[in-house]
């Protein structure tokens, strides 16, 4: 077991974890952040995307021990008193149906807008290529990211 110090959604945690434990399992099963779901086991779907020191990572592709000393933001920590503009935009544009990909999609979109605050439709599509959605056909996700972009997102 290895001791790690991690800040998750503004709260500090000190835990002993198996070296092989994935960050997503640490978040879900040790910290209790079940808002971050798991959609695959080959890092293709992006459902488990979180921000690690402000940059999006697929938390199934990071070991918990690699997150030692880092600051993690999950979908549960994105709202700051009120919904994040992306959360609002996803609701307003009907950018989710079953909602399983939504946490990862919103986090990935937040990172995209940090890099490129005013992306074109194609830039949004390319930027979210690592996150799969089976329900929406992506059109409303693109609209939601455009809407949040127009509202001016600061991550």
């Amino acid at each position: 077991m290895t001791q790690i110090n991690v800040t998750v959604d503004g709260v500090k945690y000190v835990d002993n974890v198996e070296p092989r434990m994935l960050l997503v399992h640490y978040l879900r099963e040790v910290v209790g952040k079940t808002g971050t779901p798991i959609g695959c086991d080959t890092s293709n779907c992006g459902a488990c995307t979180v921000l690690m020191d402000g940059v999006s990572v697929k938390s199934c592709s990071v070991l918990a021990v690699q997150a030692d000393g880092s600051d993690i933001t999950t979908i549960e920590g994105l709202a700051n008193g009120e919904w994040h503009p992306l959360q609002r935009a996803f609701n307003e544009e009907h950018a989710l149906q079953c909602g399983y990909c939504t946490p990862g999609m919103i986090i990935a979109a937040a990172d995209l807008l940090r890099d490129n605050p005013h992306p074109s439709e194609q830039e949004i599509r390319d930027g979210l290529e690592g996150n799969l959605c089976r329900c929406t056909g992506y059109q409303n996700i693109v609209r939601a990211v455009q809407r949040a972009s127009e509202a001016g997102v600061t991550p």
């Binding site: 149906q97 909602g99 290529e129």
Partner: protein, 824 residues
Amino acid sequence: MTAQAEAQQAPELGKARTRKEDARLVTGQTNWTDNIVLPGMLHMAFLRSPYAHARITSVDVSAAKQLPGVIAAFSGADFADEQGSLPCAWPVTEDIVIPAHPPMAVDEVRYVGEAVAVVIARTRYEAADAVEAIEIDYEPLPPVLDMRTALNEDSPKVHEAGNQSFDFVMPNGDLDAAFRDAPVVIERTYRQQRLIPSAMEPRAVVATAVGGEYTVWSATQVPHILRVMLALQTGIPEQAIRVIAPDVGGGFGSKLQVTAEEVLALLITRRLGRPVKWTESRSEGNMTVHHGRDQWQRIRIAADRDGRIRGLDVDLLADMGAYLMLVTPGVPILGAFMYPAIYKMDAYKFRCVGVFTTKMPTDAYRGAGRPEATFAIERIMDELADELGMDPLELRERNWIKHEEFPFTTVAGLTYDSGNYEAATARAKELFRYDELRKEQAERASRGDPVRLGLGISTFTEMCGLAPSRVVGSLAYGAGGWEHASIRMLPTGKVEVITGSSAHGQGHETAWSQIVADQLGVPFEDIRVLHGDTQISPRGLDTYGSRSLTVGGMALVAACDKVIEKAKVIAAGLIEASADDLEWSPGRFSVRGDPDKGVTIGEIALAVFFAHNTPEGVEPSIDAEATYDPDNFSFPHGTHLCATEVDTETGMVKIRSYVAVDDVGKVVNPLIVEGQVHGGVAQGIAQALFEEAVYDDAGNLLTTTLADYLVPSAADLPSFTTDRSESPAANRLGVKGVGEAGTIASTPAVVNAIVDALRPFGIDDVEMPCTPERVWRALQSAQNGGQGSAAERHEARQSNQTQGNSPQGAAPATGEAQQSGGVA
């Protein structure tokens, strides 16, 4: 009647309400089955067969049991006496072969991924470790992988009874007469590749047994059906089982199932007396979630030279996989009714042979039988148009049912209640700029542009809203088609709506609130919709087949009627008037001629809570429930047009524009309807261009991950132009289903567009998925004379017409008789 008319015109219906369920879904406050943690909960992990077909000679779990944290380990033999056989609820013929299907294999395995042993451990990591320590020996048997040769005498057998499950025939009209002397007969064979539904949430189940009472949480579309089936399967009394479908992350038919893992979780929690959980990995799921499609379709059409269709002859081979699951054999049979589509014709014959192979069973996947049917008819309509030298839209128009002819009974025996194919098509053509694009296509072809433009058409309809119990019963479907709803009027004037539908992304909490708001005149915000828990919603038939609105939504209306009826008696007492003198306008009763004298539905709800002054002899409640069984299926339709740019040098296909004009009748929530169309179209495009479940020669699934099985990303898809035309359905809300329409429509639109671009090269088919390699190979093959010149093709067709005998009694042709499609 006035009240009803007003209710239907009330503002909630048609309003683009944002969804209530989003509040938890966008903030991560979700309740997926995998989130559930119970005190003392254990984790299950399965050992699965690495062979497509093998005899199990020994299983030893003793070493696994010695590992840290392992509570128990079992083989199939340990549950042989109690695990039963997984249910098939749709025996489509009287002599259908339904082989035993033990949840955990005991003697023989018949597909890669079939469960053979299970470990139960304290953590999921410990369970996964211990699975590796199970010792198991197999004696390999020959796999059966191609349904086209599986029926040969010398084929190895999947089951002792042989490889044929059923032979279903449905003749309508005099087919011989229709084909005899027909001036034009075209025959094609199309391949419906095997697909993996790929809901984003993997399957998961949690089961617990406390004092003889069992609770099963499952990522299922069908908690009510699952409860009944678990009781029948395990012998546990139905009243002792509660099934909960919490938040469920998509289904597309894949969670319309009673799975081995659900049954075993229940049996194991009973045996161990502790809660157990199982969540699949994606790799495990791709192998063991039921697959979809997988058919060979031979279709023959007979027509007059002016384009009038005389008859249609359809002969299918459908791959069942290794076993029949919940509705496996019914899937192609649902398609049987849809081959004639929107067209008038004299005769139609459908035949389907269900075949066993050593692969994962197939079952319902978005559209279930209807996408396959729509693909074949819409593809061959384009072939017929080409043969006749006619514009494919003109050919369709010549044959379709005209809007003034509804209700119309088709050659397949369905009565379409409503539709307006002219209106949908006219709107789609306008949005698509059809005539302009045809000009551009001709211009680019004439200058030899290496990137060719192709226009694809799909004027689809479908039958959904499964549906009248008597009709589905006559098709041997093992359940009814009704739906249930109840309304609880709370003393504070708020409303709880309990529905038997079980949403997993469809937005029922929002749309059902809108319907009830209009019916009862209660604010949208004051309504809460409950679903997916058999203890809260004891009666229901769940969500699949685009049935929730047309059946479940109508059950809400029926329950609201009863609330109003009961409330009227109470209202009469409260305002001391005769019930006959009361008028209902949504939300309030008032005395006819004295509108100021009245009482609201909320006041009535409070009055029955106190029950101080309610009329004597009248039950002090205005709660009501209703079960609704429709008279007919629902028949949404539409016209989808797709423009593709096909690079003849690389084989790359790009969708340039896609227009979908859908007629789903009256719309409850346009935001949700548009979302369903987007997602449906995307899934149909995915079949056309990207997705295929591939097994190797030994029966190993090669597409176990999302890197190999190509669910499209945002970068792979275009934006769609959507619009609606509207011919109200013959139900009180005027609504039709929408869940599957996009998927049914889009696949043939895309492939028709690709073929349309490549026709000048002598190509008249590209097998799906139309990958760059397949398109490129089709072009190479055509240039090397494989598909022949257009002139040669024409000649081949002429000679083919003379061979146009009915295939009665013979096994379906499997491609070798076909002069086209040389890219298989």
